[in-house]
Each structure stands twice: as C-alpha cells, then as structure tokens.
C-alpha cells in the first residue's frame, strides 16, 4: 500500500510542483496518472522512491516512511521499487544482460556488486526477467543495438530483476509508436497482475489510460482533480483535467 499524506514539493527554483496530495493506493492496484505536462505527474511518481524530496508531508509504503529514510534504509526501500523511464535509461554500451543485472545491485553486497560477482540466483532472475518480456535471445547484444520497444522491455526486465513490490513508470510509452506502446503497456499490466505489483504509470493518452487502468488519477497544477474508475473517466472528465477540449491528434494513441 502506498500512502501520500499532505505531500508538497517545491523545487529549488521556486516552482510548486505538488500542492498537498492525499492519496492511498492499495496493494496490487494498477493506477494511471493523467494530466498535461507540468501538472506534477512526474514529481508525484518520483516522490514515491524519493528521487524528489518533499518539502512537506510524506510518502509511506506499507506503513514505512520513504520521505524520512536516509542512506542504507532508503536504498533498501528503493531496492523493492522498480522504475521505468520514458528514455529507457539503459547503459547503451553495455550488454542487455549487464543492464538487467544492474537491477540486482540494490540486493547485492558492495564488494560483489563492484567486482561483478553476481550469484547464480541473480543470473537466473535476470534470465527469467528477459524471458517474461519476451526477449531472452537478446541477452548478449549491446543495448543500443535494440529497437525502442525492445529497449523499453530491457528497462522492464531490469525493474523485474529487483523482484519489486512497487513499479513506477514515468511516461513509459511516450517515445514509442502506437502498436509498440500497447505491447509495452500489456506487459506492464500482465506483470502487475501476475506478481501483485502495485503499479503507478504516467500517461498522456486518454484511450490507453481507459484501456489499462484499474483506477485513473487526474492531476492539474499540482493537485488531484479526478480520482475514479476508467468508466467514470468520461470525455467530459478529461476535458476538466486538461482544462481544454480533447485533441484527437494529441490525446489519443489509437488502437494497436
């Protein structure tokens, strides 16, 4: 369970990105966060693993405060939170397998990690993760030799290798074409179901949010302006979230 309690984030440049967020996400729920650029979606997701520190309030995961944790405690919490990025954030010059194994670093002792002495279990987990996203044969290729969709799958595999309880995805399909976007979203949804992983996904696209979400949270100017099921998220609701009429070109990704 993830709890946001009166969470406020003000960046050093004075921008107030989050203005008092209260939100509770039960275990295993697949939540899609929607809103325009600058609404605070990314900040909200990054507050969960403390990549962005709060200026007020806190985030708790299963009752433990992430916002107050430091050093080793914080790293231990983070090791159970997988994260996927818009630009994949792979080490391009390293092999796919090494990128996936990097997901085990939070679970590996410093000496073993630095020397690259991964255990048999780490390797097995890495291979299994690659199998689950459908690209086991790419293990020894360099990451930059893969297509965008395959690179994002490596990103998912890296997060899976952590055996996470929470998965964060910051605009995971914004750099992909529509069919690939749907494939990646189905992977995320399936894995969330199979492993009971609480998942938070930022999305731009209305149709994808409706298709994959258990619950949709709408944000505008750092506050939550919508919280409901996909059925409740009508066109009217989206126009309220965006503060403008729906633009078919920009806001819909289209079918697979």
């Amino acid at each position: 369970m993830i709890e946001f309690r009166d969470l406020e984030v003000t960046y050093p440049n004075g921008v107030k990105a989050l203005k008092g967020i209260d939100l509770t996400i039960p275990k295993g729920q697949f939540v899609v966060i929607v809103g325009l650029s600058g609404a605070g979606k990314s900040t909200l997701i990054r507050a969960v693993n403390h990549l962005v520190p709060p200026s007020k309030g806190e985030v708790r995961i299963d009752g433990r405060s992430v916002s107050k944790a430091t050093g080793r405690d914080l790293r231990r919490i983070r090791s159970k939170i997988g994260m996927i990025f818009q630009t994949f954030n792979l080490v391009k010059r390293s092999s796919v397998l090494r990128n996936v194994l990097a997901g085990r670093l939070g679970h590996t002792s410093a000496i073993r990690g630095l020397l690259g002495l991964f255990t048999k279990r780490d390797l097995a987990l890495a291979h299994d993760s690659l199998r689950r996203v459908g690209i086991p044969e790419k293990a020894w290729q360099r990451a930059d030799a893969l297509s965008g969709g395959q690179q994002q799958r490596v990103g998912i595999a890296r997060a899976l290798a952590q055996q996470p309880e929470v998965m964060l995805a910051d605009e995971p399909v914004a750099s992909l074409d529509p069919p690939t976007s749907h494939a990646v979203m189905s992977d995320l949804k399936r894995i969330s179901r199979e492993d009971g992983i609480t998942t938070l996904v930022n999305l731009h696209f209305i149709d994808m949010a409706r298709e994959y979400a258990d619950r949709i949270v709408g944000m505008r100017d750092g506050v939550i302006v919508f919280d409901g099921t996909p059925d409740e998220a009508t066109d009217q609701a989206f126009e309220d979230i965006y503060g403008r009429p729906i633009d078919v070109e920009k806001d819909l990704r289209g079918a697979a």
Partner: protein, 267 residues
C-alpha cells in the same frame, strides 16, 4: 530601370563605436607587447643572421657516431620505463580522484571543491619543475622522474576524466539510484561503461606525452636518456649527442604512430 545602388542614400547604420574601439585597441596591445618584448629580451634579427654561420658549422659536426649506438639502449629503455611507470601510477591515482572531482559523482560539495583545488594546484606546476625539485630530495636517477611524471599525469588525467564524466548521460545513473544502488555501484555500472573508451584514449595520449617529457626531465637529473644526453653534451661529444638525438627522434615517432593507431581503434 533600377537606380545605381551607389547613388542611393545608405540605409546601413554606421558600425557601432564600441566594435571599432575593440578592433583598434587589440591591434595597439599587440604592437606594444611586440616592441616591449623585443627590446627587453634583446631579440635582434641581425644577431640571428650573424649566428647562422656558427649554426651551420655546429651542425656539420653533428654526424651520428654509430659506434656509440650500443650505449644508447640502456638509458633509452630507462626513459621508456620511467614514462610507463609514470603513466601507470598517475592513472591509478587519477581514477579515484576524478570521480571525486566530478559534480555528478562526487560525495558532497566540500569534497568536490577540495579535489578540484588540489588538481588545479598540481596541474599548474610543470613536470620539469617537479623533477628539478625532486631530484635533489630523492637522489639523482629514475625515481624522481617517475614521481614527477606520476604527479603530473594524475593531475592532467583526473581533469580530462572529470570533464568526460560530467558529460555522461545522467539517465542510467538515475535508474540505478532509483533501484537502490549506492554511489560506488552507480559509478561502476552507469558511468564507467560510458567513459571507458575515452579514458583509455586519454591514457594512451598521456603515455605519448610522458615519453617526450621523460627525455626532457632527464636533463635535470631525473634519469634516462636525458641525463646521458646532457653528459655527452658537456663532453662536447657531438657524434654521441647526435646519435642519441636520432634514437630519440625515431622512438618518439614510433610511439606517436602506435598511440594514434591504438586510439583510432578505440572509439
């Protein structure tokens, strides 16, 4: 018919006064520096002309004495070894330091500032000066040469390296930090693969520079072929001197070519 452009009143505004001032004052500074420098150093073209006779007479005596060649091998090998050890120790010292001197991998701001300051100070002292200062302390011979080159290589390599590290893609670092990896593991897995090729190229380049530098620092008593060169020069043994120069010339050319080739294969 269009009117002659020259007959039209000009619509282009005059060049701003400030720009004109910059151009003319730059020229003035150059001229002043030129006259002051030539006057104070006593540089004179006529002296240079008069000297050309002696110059060619001296060159005439610079015929390599091949019989001296066997005695060149040992000191030239020592020079290479000094360069190699200086590069090796300098690189080993630079590796931990350069990550402390990079804004994106340092532990905290105080460490960053201290590391950068230390490197700037070390770099501002030429390797020749290190050797000259160290030779009397560490006894004449290869040891001060190795220490001098190590210090200088470390400072230069750490500077070049930290600039490379600061230019890496921050995405993978954020991803690993988000997964609970500590600072050192983030460096090894997200930064090192991105900079390894460039850093290897820098190390080869430093070795290239160190081969040349180790010849020079021998002149101040830091071992190697430089020391030998100075000794033969003091005996006016010009045949030996020119033999040494030829060997140095060939060696430097060979190392340069090798290093350029190796670096071209890297990136």
């Amino acid at each position: 018919m269009r009117p002659d452009p020259a007959a039209l009143p000009s619509t282009v505004p005059e060049r701003p006064r400030g720009q004109r001032m910059v151009a003319s004052s730059t020229l003035a500074v150059f001229l002043v520096l030129f006259f002051v420098s030539t006057w104070q150093t006593g540089f004179s073209l006529s002296d240079l002309w008069i000297g050309t006779g002696d110059f060619f007479r001296f060159f005439g005596r610079l015929v390599p004495d091949l019989s001296y060649l066997p005695e060149v091998w040992a000191p030239i090998l020592e020079t290479l070894q000094i360069a190699y050890l200086g590069t090796l120790f300098g690189t080993s010292l630079a590796l931990p330091l350069l990550f402390l001197a990079s804004a994106n991998t340092s532990t905290d701001r105080v460490t960053l500032a201290v590391a950068r300051t230390v490197l700037t100070v070390l770099r501002s002292i030429p390797d020749l000066l290190y050797a000259a200062l160290l030779a009397p302390i560490l006894a004449i011979g290869p040891l001060p040469g190795v220490v001098a080159l190590s210090l200088f290589s470390m400072a230069v390599l750490a500077k070049l390296g930290s600039e490379t590290v600061e230019a890496v893609d921050p995405g993978p670092m954020e991803a690993l930090r988000a997964s609970g990896a500590g600072r050192n593991r983030v460096i090894v897995y997200a930064v090192v693969p991105q900079v390894a090729a460039t850093m290897t190229s820098f190390v080869l380049y430093i070795f290239e520079i160190n081969v040349r530098a180790s010849v020079i620092i021998g002149l101040v008593g830091a071992g190697g072929i430089g020391e030998q060169l100075l000794a033969r020069l003091n005996f006016f043994a010009y045949g030996d001197v020119s033999m040494i120069i030829v060997v140095i010339f060939v060696l430097v050319l060979a190392i340069d070519a090798l290093s350029v080739w190796a670096r071209s294969r890297l990136i």
